[in-house]
């Protein structure tokens, strides 16, 4: 407390320079800080620390530096799983977005029994993924599944669905789409409800076609909602686990093994905690990069004035 006795120094701005004191609000920040440290920062730091060790459950960890990361690019199963994750994510963001928007436009119009049908439409979203995965597994059965029966009714040859490496990812995306299209619909429906009636009225007076009304009025105005939907879908799809695990366990071979499934095997089946942690770190970086790219796209696309409303 010696500064009190000395004459206060005058700074260039003419204010006396005081000793730093903690801001008066710090007791209010502390609880949040502790929680963040405990549940976000610490697990992350610990994961990174683990990823620098060769560590099998049951034996003591040994420090290996970046060896686990160096092993990743030459691990074909990992490289393939990254590729599977990207394809799976791209498809299961695009399809629900497209179909969900379409469904929202349909359900935005007024027609009898609309509320009931809307309720029916969002049922898949409420089902437990593992339970519906088991139902789909039997629906996909090449001999006994109902899907091949339906194809046969319209004269199409039977498909192998999740039982062939080439069709397994699209088939899984189908389940994902079936389950999550309603979510996109709900979000977009909210967006549509928020649009005022005036632009539509003037468009009608100007003689705009239905397509023009959608393309130049609805679409630009619901863009922010679509971005949100895309973001939620993307994060969900990247870390999708339950449906894939319950239907194919990453098979046939490793044709539908995403990073998440591989990660699970490495950590909880092979008990290779160190290597699994390295995969987690890379996986996290990938999610952040994807989310960042989407946010950037949103900032640079000027969706608010795109197309120029009527």
């Amino acid at each position: 407390m010696s500064t009190i006795a000395e004459p206060a120094e005058i700074t260039s701005r003419g204010e006396p320079q005081r000793e730093w004191r903690p801001p008066s609000y710090w007791p209010f920040v502390l609880p949040a800080l502790v929680v963040v440290l405990a549940v976000i920062i610490f697990p992350w730091a610990y994961t990174i620390w683990m990823s620098l060790h060769e560590w099998k459950v049951g034996s003591p960890p040994t420090f290996v530096g970046l060896a686990n990361y160096i092993r990743l690019p030459s691990d074909t199963r990992f490289v393939e799983s990254v590729w599977h994750t990207l394809v799976y994510t791209a498809l299961s963001v695009a399809l629900p977005l497209l179909l969900g928007t379409l469904a929202a436009v349909v359900f935005h119009a007024k027609f009898p029994m609309r509320g009931f049908l809307r309720g029916l439409f969002i049922l898949p979203m409420m089902a437990t993924p593992v339970a519906i995965a088991l139902v789909w597994t039997m629906m996909f059965h090449p001999q006994l599944g109902i899907l091949n029966y339906l194809l046969s009714l319209v004269g199409l040859p039977p498909q192998l669905w999740v039982f062939h490496p080439a069709t397994v990812i699209p088939s899984l995306v189908m389940v994902e789409t079936w389950q999550w299209t309603p979510l996109v619909m709900l979000i977009v429906l909210g967006g549509l409800a928020a649009i005022p009636a005036e632009p539509y009225e003037s468009a009608q007076i100007d003689g705009a076609t239905r397509w023009q009304v959608f393309r130049y009025i609805s679409l630009p105005l619901i863009m922010p909602f679509l971005f949100i939907a895309a973001m939620i879908r993307m994060i969900d799809a990247v870390k999708s686990f339950d449906i894939i695990f319950a239907i194919t366990q990453g098979g046939p071979g490793s044709a539908s093994e995403t990073i998440n499934l591989y990660l699970y095997s490495v950590a909880f089946v092979y008990y290779d905690v160190g290597y699994a942690s390295a995969i987690v770190v890379v996986f996290f970086a990938l999610i952040v990069a994807l989310a960042g790219a989407l946010l950037r796209l949103r900032q640079t696309s000027h969706w608010n004035d795109a197309g120029g409303v009527a």
């Binding site: 459950v57 049951g58 059965h141 039982f163 490496p165 095997s265 092979y270």
Partner: protein, 441 residues
């Protein structure tokens, strides 16, 4: 489930009487002091399935007998294995008794020393009924439970043999007889194929990892051995290649489309819906096959031994055991529970319901127990016949899961036309360092 004629009380009396009299002829020995640990509560960690559920169902009988309360949790297989490893590694498991899958965990548990040596308890007449002797367990069971010093660290409980399920109706329609060898089986399957009507000669597991339990039966029949004397893995040799070719012949030519992604569930569906004429898998599937609510082939399925290969006829065996954690503080009470789990009464129930096959010869050879079996007589014959030709279906190593994934992926790849020799070699090179590292650790 078994429909048991005697009442619970009479069964309990029977168990006690059997313990008191003793099958091995020591009527003068001290009785087991069942009630000594009354009031204790033990925790048991069990695997979901007919075996774990049977113990849970009759737990009150154990409490009546001993006064010991059992808190048991029944968890699906894969999750149970994870939980067990994580908790045992921590040194303070939440359970005293653990259900072990020998074919996956034997070496891992032994090396880590997680289970207590039961030898002392088994010799103690105050704790062990005279009919429970090491010799009563079949050779396969002892192979599973004993470590290299011959100590029992668990009690062998139930074994799963691979057998051949065959649809008699489809066989009769095409005038085909039951194959005795692998070659005959392939020829029979090709004759039974009728893709126009959606019927195939064979079905089985093709999905990576799951397929290894089936493939290894072929491997054994073709003279394969998993490890050499130095502990090197031998799954890329000529036996493995020939076995894979036979597996591929059946799975590509004569199995339903998409078999590369089949686990037991899809295979069983093909069989029970009358769409596949043969299936090789564990003995435990007889109850759903003979259940009219789940199956269209009730009474039409024959049960037989897995056909012989050029180098012998084997049945791949997978087993469960029950053991006590080294860290448990209630070892005696836990031991009484384990003993009850593998007792004659519980073993008889297991066998009679078709949910599993006890390792104890005294149960399998008991006429009255056999008479109570609800499954067809042929099933029991296949079980007893398989016991005589059984061989461990997976190598006794720590990284069993990696082995199943890596070699399993190679075998699945051959179903899409990849060359068996190349794929197995590749898998071998990938797996060898993993095995070496696991033994060094």
């Amino acid at each position: 489930m078994a429909h048991f004629a005697p009442t619970r009380r009479s069964l309990l009396q029977g168990t006690l009487a059997a313990s008191a009299l003793g099958v091995s002829g020591f009527p003068a020995r001290a009785d087991v002091q069942w009630k000594k640990y009354a009031g204790t509560t033990i925790e048991a960690n069990l695997i979901k399935g007919p075996r774990g559920e049977l113990l849970q169902k009759y737990a009150s009988e154990f409490t009546d007998l001993t006064g010991i309360k059992v808190e048991s949790e029944v968890i699906p297989e894969q999750q149970q294995r994870q939980k067990a490893v994580i908790e045992l590694t921590s040194g303070k498991p939440s359970f005293d008794v653990i259900h072990v899958s020998y074919h996956v965990q034997k070496r891992q548990f032994e090396k880590a020393g997680w289970l207590m040596d039961l030898t002392r308890f088994m010799k103690d007449p105050n704790l062990t009924a005279p009919d429970l002797t090491v010799d009563d367990f079949s050779a396969g069971g002892r192979q599973f439970a004993e470590n290299d010093k011959g100590e029992m660290h668990s009690l062998p409980w139930s074994v799963d043999y691979f057998i051949l399920y065959w649809n008699k109706e489809l066989f009769a329609k095409k005038g085909v007889t039951l194959p005795k060898t692998m070659d005959e089986m392939a020829i029979a399957a090709e004759k039974l194929d009728d893709p126009a009507n959606g019927i195939y000669g064979f079905t089985g597991r093709g999905l990576r990892n799951a397929n290894m339990t089936l493939w290894t039966n072929f491997f054994l029949d073709y003279g394969g051995e998993f490890l050499d004397a130095k502990g090197n893995i031998l799954t890329d040799g000529p036996e493995a290649i020939e076995a894979t070719k036979m597996y591929d012949r059946l799975m590509i030519k004569s199995s339903p489309p998409g078999s590369a992604g089949f686990n037991w569930m899809e295979s069983m569906a093909s069989l029970t819906q009358g769409r596949a004429a043969m299936w090789i898998d564990g003995v435990g599937w007889a109850p759903p096959i003979e259940d009219p609510n789940a199956s269209r082939v009730v009474g039409k399925i024959g049960y037989a031994l897995v056909p012989a290969g050029p180098k012998g006829q084997y049945s791949a065996a997978y087993g469960d055991g029950i053991g006590i954690c080294e860290a448990s503080t209630k070892k005696e009470a836990a031991y009484l529970y384990c003993q009850w789990a593998v007792s004659k009464t519980m073993g008889a129930r297991l066998l009679q319901s078709g949910g599993g096959v006890p390792f104890r010869n005294s149960i399998l050879n008991d006429e009255t127990v056999r008479k109570g079996v609800k499954m067809p007589a042929e099933w029991l014959e296949a079980v007893i016949g398989s016991a005589k030709i059984s061989k461990l279906g997976l190598p006794v190593i720590i990284p069993v899961a990696e082995f199943r994934d890596i070699v399993g992926a190679a075998v699945t790849a051959t179903l899409s036309g990849a060359d068996p020799a190349t794929e197995l070699k590749k898998a071998h090179e990938q797996f060898r360092p993993i095995l070496e590292r696991s033994e060094k650790a």
